[in-house]
Each structure stands twice: as structure tokens, then as C-alpha cells.
């Protein structure tokens, strides 16, 4: 426990730390980010393993494919990291993603222009997130139950707008490019995802907003007493999360060439698992954007590598789950040096 407390204080005060000696900063960074290093090691070891056992794993084509497959997860994980760092959770992202994918198809079919449809979907995603945020912050209801409820009704909305059908998308060239396009062979969706990740990292580590997010997670009351409007900050994190999910929905829908309410099934769990795997604490106060990104890649690499190795689909999930469990154990006990005896 003292270890954790110390890390919380350090992460809140990162900016005020004097930059006198580089080596000191480096060693402190290592101390603060043992979990990121842990997951990176697991990721590298697994990747090496798969490159040895599958000829097609370590190819440029496969890497770019994986980036494209993971773009939606990366986009959503950025804002999920912010939400979880405030000690919240957002279970509705999968449903918002389905709604967005369904809605963009329906709007385009109704004859709306690509740009209008795109904007409307983003705004609706933001509104869905805003409703979560308002209820959580201003009515003080636990985020788990609020977003669980919205997960259900938003999924219902997606079902309602599609009527259960999968609807083909005929958008303009730029809209289709979001999901399918490539610039110098790099998927457009991956480029967008990387930009959003960098943006999210800057928000968390370089802005006052980010400092408040971490502060709210570690000690909400003291942040409130220092005059910060914590309700607004919390509400905004859910709004961003909803907007990111709807954007990810557009990415997936334009990739598949169809919108359907079946698209986001299980998506929220993949993202939450990635964020927690990366070292962000479910109890709040500790958040790492880099860790979340590695978490997304870890889950993606396991899925991709096992398929390439021809593992039977009947046992693939057993291995996936076990490897994830092992990764968390390695992460928490080996790399962050928590001794088992202390508990």
C-alpha cells in the first residue's frame, strides 16, 4: 500500500518535479512505470514467440493489418483510460459503437451527405456520453450501473434504427477511406488512431485537465476543495468517451461496408481489459496511456498470432484467457515488485 500511495502522489506532482539531473529522472520514470515495462516485455516475448512459430506473423503486411484491426480499440481505449483513471468505468462504449455504425448506414441510406451524416453521428455519440456523465456527476449514481443501463438502452436504439438488418453503406470516397483507405500503404484508420492516442497522451500528461483527472481518481475531495469543478471534469470524460466510441463505430462500419447493431458485441470488455492490463488502476488515480496502447496490442497480438499458428478454434479462447491472466500476474507481481507476503 505505501508503494501505491507514493506512486499516486508522484503522478499527481509530476510537473512540479525539478528537472535537475537527467539520470535521476530516468530512474524515477522507471520506478513509476514498472507496469508499462512489464507489459512491454510480455508483448515483446509473445511477438518473438509468434514470429518463430509462424512465418507470416512478422511481416509488414500482417503488422499493418493488425494496426487496422485494432484502430477502433485504440481510439476508444484512449478515453476509457481517462474514465478509469477518474475511478469510473464506461460499459456503454460497445453499444454506442453499434449505434454509430447503424446510424451512419441509415442516415446515408436516407440520402444525407457523408459530411452531415458523419457530424450527426459524432454529435449523437457525444450526447449519449454526456447523458452518462450528467447522471454520474450531477445525480451521483455509480458509473457502473449508469453505463450498464445505457449500454442496454443504446443497444436497443441501434436495434430500432436498423430494424435488425445489416445495412449497406454507400458513402463518398473520403468517408469510405476512413475505414478502408491507405496512405503510402498505411491504413488511414491506423493513422487517425495514432493521432488520437498522441492527443490523449498529451491531455493526460500535459494539461491541467489531465492532472485533475488523475487527482479525482486518487483523492476526489482534495481536488474539489482546491476549487476545481470536479463534476464538470468527470462529465467531460464520459462525453469524450462517447464521442470516441461513435467515431470508432464509423471506422468499423466503413471498413465492413455495412452498419449493423451486431457490430459492437463484447467490444467494451476488450477495451476495458486492455486498459487494465496496461496498468491503469480500476480504483482510479493511476493512468497510463502508453500502457493502454500496449494492452490493446497485447490482446490483438494474442488473437492474431494464435490464428496464424493454426490453433484450433475450439481451444483458442481458452489459451487467450489464460495468457491474459498470466500477463496480469506477471505484470502485478514480477515487474512492480509487489511481494506476495505483504498481503
Amino acid at each position: 500500500m505505501p508503494e501505491e500511495a507514493r506512486r499516486k502522489i508522484i503522478s499527481v506532482n509530476t510537473k512540479s518535479a525539478p528537472a535537475d539531473k537527467n539520470s535521476k529522472i530516468a530512474s524515477q520514470w522507471l520506478a513509476n512505470n514498472k507496469q508499462i515495462i512489464g507489459i512491454l516485455v510480455v508483448l515483446v516475448v509473445l511477438s518473438l514467440f509468434f514470429s518463430v512459430f509462424s512465418d507470416s506473423f512478422a511481416t509488414t503486411g500482417n503488422m499493418l493489418n493488425m494496426l487496422q484491426q485494432l484502430a477502433a480499440n485504440l481510439i476508444v481505449c484512449v478515453f476509457m483510460t481517462l474514465v478509469i483513471t477518474t475511478s469510473g468505468i464506461d460499459l456503454s462504449v460497445g453499444s454506442i459503437l453499434s449505434l454509430a455504425s447503424a446510424l451512419i448506414a441509415v442516415l446515408l441510406k436516407a440520402g444525407l451527405g457523408s459530411f452531415e451524416a458523419f457530424l450527426i453521428v459524432l454529435v449523437i455519440g457525444a450526447i449519449a456520453g454526456l447523458i452518462n456523465g450528467v447522471v454520474i456527476s450531477y445525480l451521483s449514481i455509480p458509473p457502473f450501473i449508469v453505463t450498464l443501463a445505457s449500454m442496454i438502452y443504446i443497444q436497443g436504439l441501434a436495434l430500432l434504427v436498423t430494424g435488425g438488418y445489416s445495412i449497406g453503406i454507400e458513402g463518398s470516397a473520403w468517408l469510405n477511406a476512413i475505414g478502408q483507405g491507405r496512405i503510402v500503404n498505411i491504413p488511414v484508420s491506423a493513422i487517425i488512431a495514432i493521432i488520437i492516442v498522441i492527443l490523449g497522451w498529451s491531455i493526460l500528461t500535459q494539461t491541467r485537465f489531465g492532472t485533475y483527472v488523475i487527482g479525482i481518481g486518487s483523492n476526489e475531495e482534495s481536488v474539489r476543495r482546491s476549487g476545481v469543478n470536479i463534476k464538470k471534469i468527470k462529465m467531460l470524460t464520459y462525453m469524450f468517451s462517447g464521442m470516441a466510441a461513435s467515431f470508432a463505430g464509423i471506422v468499423l462500419a466503413t471498413r465492413l461496408g455495412s452498419g449493423s447493431s451486431n457490430v459492437g458485441t463484447g467490444f467494451e470488455m476488450e477495451v476495458i481489459a486492455a486498459v487494465v492490463l496496461g496498468g491503469t488502476s480500476l480504483f482510479g488515480g493511476i493512468g497510463t496511456m502508453l500502457g493502454s496502447v500496449f494492452g490493446v496490442f497485447l490482446i490483438g497480438v494474442i488473437d492474431n498470432g494464435l490464428t496464424l499458428m493454426n490453433v484450433s478454434p475450439y481451444i483458442i479462447q481458452i489459451i487467450q484467457g489464460s495468457v491474459l491472466l498470466l500477463a496480469v500476474i506477471v505484470n502485478t507481481h514480477v515487474f512492480s515488485g509487489k511481494s506476495l507476503k505483504r498481503r
Binding site: S56, N65, G164, G168, Q180, R255, N262, V263, T265, G266
Partner: protein, 326 residues
């Protein structure tokens, strides 16, 4: 109790609001309330599998239209792929004393106890789509999934013999959480294995979700660049597979076969890389189900099994199906 007057009032209003919402819903759905002797309107329960796949949506539409035509009331229940929920919904319909129950089973064995309850309450059970082997079922309306998949397999065998010079290497995108699709997959693979030199490279699991199937199909193509035939066992799997073919630019190299049409599948057939798709006529299940249910409820005789036809859609007859996916 330290609840202020204002809060109390707000709470009462909220509670009333909730009751109002629930009341509004129940007036649409309702149970079987018919109390007036001979002329009572028949109520038919229909427990489907989900409302997200084209197949089920269409079967519901067919049932609703038929119900309207025959002047009976149709209560549709959606168990969302959950077999336990499905059994509960059947039991609820039994308690509501509906006149007949149409079931599209998720788990063809697990659903039997609930069906027996209905049969014991003298409520006829019509099983559509998936075949349930039980005395509780009064009428089975179904596509023989294994038999139809075998036909598709035979089509593939002929295709390979006539059109392919190099040995066939086949990859499959399945949905292992769907019993029916596993049945299709196995019947298909057993049939194509009759082709000499045909090698099944691997099977991947799309879990009946489009983007999961797409990722799995892409990884399948990456892992087996030599693959030249692909099979998908259902609608989400085939949509995922088709999107993967496009993203990996495999249109020239791959011949795709599968189940259940979609816009993407039709486009593939027109472009020539999707060779054949087994298409069922789901709206028929719904309409035939309702007419059988009404007859049974009126104690008339109905055949024990009614076979619903399937069509193998290829370039030659795809035009007939285009209007379905506008």
C-alpha cells in the same frame, strides 16, 4: 424517515413515470387475455433467436404478415441468443396460456424440457428452422441444414473438378457458438473432403459477430496466403469474410462459398469471386409457422414435418434476390 416533501414528491412522480413506461409497453405486447368464449382471438407466441440477423428479422416479418392476414395476435419474444432465456420465455408463454407457440431453437436439446411443459399444458409447439427431436413438437418446419450444406459441398466438388488446376486449399470461417452453423460447417467439410487433394488449411471462429469474423478471416488469409477456397457458415461470417477479401485484395485468388445472402455477398457474386451462397427463405418459416400454429390451435391436422426449400444462389439466379437487399 428524513425525506423532505420535495424529494418525496419527486420520488412519487418518478415511480409513476416508470409505471407509465411499463404500462405503455405491456399494452403493446400483452398476454393472452381472451375470456369471451367462442369468438376469442387466437394468440400465438413466437420465440425467435435474436433480432440482429437478417434471417430472424425476416422470419418475424413473415410471421407478422401472416398473423395479420389470418387475424390472430402474435407475441414475439427475443431471447438474444441466450438458450436459458429462451426456455424461460417459452415457460412464460405457457403461463400466459397462449394458443400455440412457435420456437426457433438456439439449443435443440436444451429447449426440449420447456417444450414439454407447453405440450403438457396442451399448447401445440411448432419448431421452425432448427430441428428439434421430441414428441413435444407438433410440427417441424425446417431446412435440413446438414443436407443443404452437403449440397453446397457437392457444388464445390464439381466446381473444383471443372475449374481449378492447382490443388484446392480451403479455409473456413465458422461460428462455434451457433449449433446450426457448426452443423453446416461439419456437413460441408465432410462433403468437400471427397475431392482428392483438397486440403482444409484451418477453421477460424467469427463468433457470429461481423467484425470478429472479419478480423479472423483476415488473419486466416495472412496465415495461409496459398488458400484458394473460403467457406463461411452464416450471415455475419460471410459478411466478415467478404470484407476481408476486399481489404486483402484476394478477389482474383479466392473462390468464396457460404450461407445466407447479404448486400456484400450479392456484390461478390456479381463481381465473380463469390461463387455460390445457400439462401433460405426465412419469411416462409414465419408465415408457414403461423398458419400451422393457427390450424393446430383450431385442432385441425397438420403434417408432422414441413420442409422449407433452400436455393443455391449463383451468378445465374442472383437477380431474383437483389431486391431483398436494396
Amino acid at each position: 424517515m428524513k425525506i423532505s416533501g420535495g424529494k418525496m414528491r419527486a420520488a412519487i412522480i418518478l415511480m409513476l413515470g416508470i409505471l407509465l413506461i411499463l404500462g405503455g409497453c405491456s399494452s403493446n405486447k400483452g398476454g393472452a387475455s381472451g375470456s369471451d368464449g367462442n369468438n376469442k382471438q387466437l394468440t400465438i407466441g413466437f420465440v425467435t433467436i435474436n433480432q440482429e440477423a437478417y434471417f430472424f428479422t425476416e422470419s418475424i416479418r413473415g410471421a407478422e404478415e401472416q398473423a395479420k392476414k389470418m387475424g390472430v395476435k402474435l407475441v414475439v419474444q427475443n431471447p438474444d441468443n441466450d438458450p436459458v432465456k429462451q426456455s424461460n420465455q417459452i415457460e412464460n408463454l405457457v403461463n400466459q396460456k397462449v394458443d400455440a407457440i412457435i420456437v426457433d431453437s438456439i439449443d435443440t436439446k436444451g429447449v426440449i424440457p420447456a417444450m414439454k411443459e407447453a405440450a403438457n399444458a396442451n399448447i401445440p409447439v411448432i419448431s421452425i428452422d432448427a430441428i428439434v427431436k421430441s414428441h413435444a413438437v407438433s410440427t417441424q418446419i425446417g431446412v435440413d441444414n446438414a443436407e443443404s450444406s452437403k449440397k453446397l459441398g457437392e457444388y464445390v466438388n464439381k466446381y473444383v473438378k471443372e475449374n481449378m488446376k492447382e490443388p484446392a486449399k480451403l479455409g473456413a470461417v465458422g461460428a462455434l457458438n451457433s449449433f446450426i452453423q457448426v452443423m453446416r460447417q461439419n456437413a460441408f467439410l465432410d462433403t468437400v473432403k471427397q475431392t482428392p487433394d483438397l486440403k482444409v488449411v484451418t477453421i477460424v471462429d467469427g463468433k457470429n459477430v461481423q467484425q470478429t469474423a472479419m478480423t479472423a478471416a483476415e488473419n486466416l488469409m495472412t496465415g495461409h496466403p496459398e488458400m484458394n477456397i473460403a467457406f463461411a457458415s452464416g450471415e455475419p461470417a460471410l459478411i466478415g469474410l467478404a470484407s476481408a477479401v476486399k481489404s486483402q485484395h484476394k478477389e482474383k485468388q479466392l473462390s468464396v462459398f457460404g450461407w445466407d445472402l447479404s448486400k456484400q455477398a450479392i456484390q461478390g457474386i456479381e463481381e465473380g469471386w463469390v461463387k455460390a451462397v445457400v439462401q433460405q427463405h426465412p419469411e416462409k418459416f414465419g408465415s408457414e409457422g403461423v398458419s400451422a400454429a393457427v390450424k393446430l390451435a383450431k385442432k385441425q391436422k397438420v403434417a408432422k414435418t414441413i420442409n422449407a426449400p433452400v436455393t443455391i444462389v449463383t451468378k445465374d439466379n442472383v437477380d431474383q434476390f437483389k431486391h431483398l437487399f436494396k
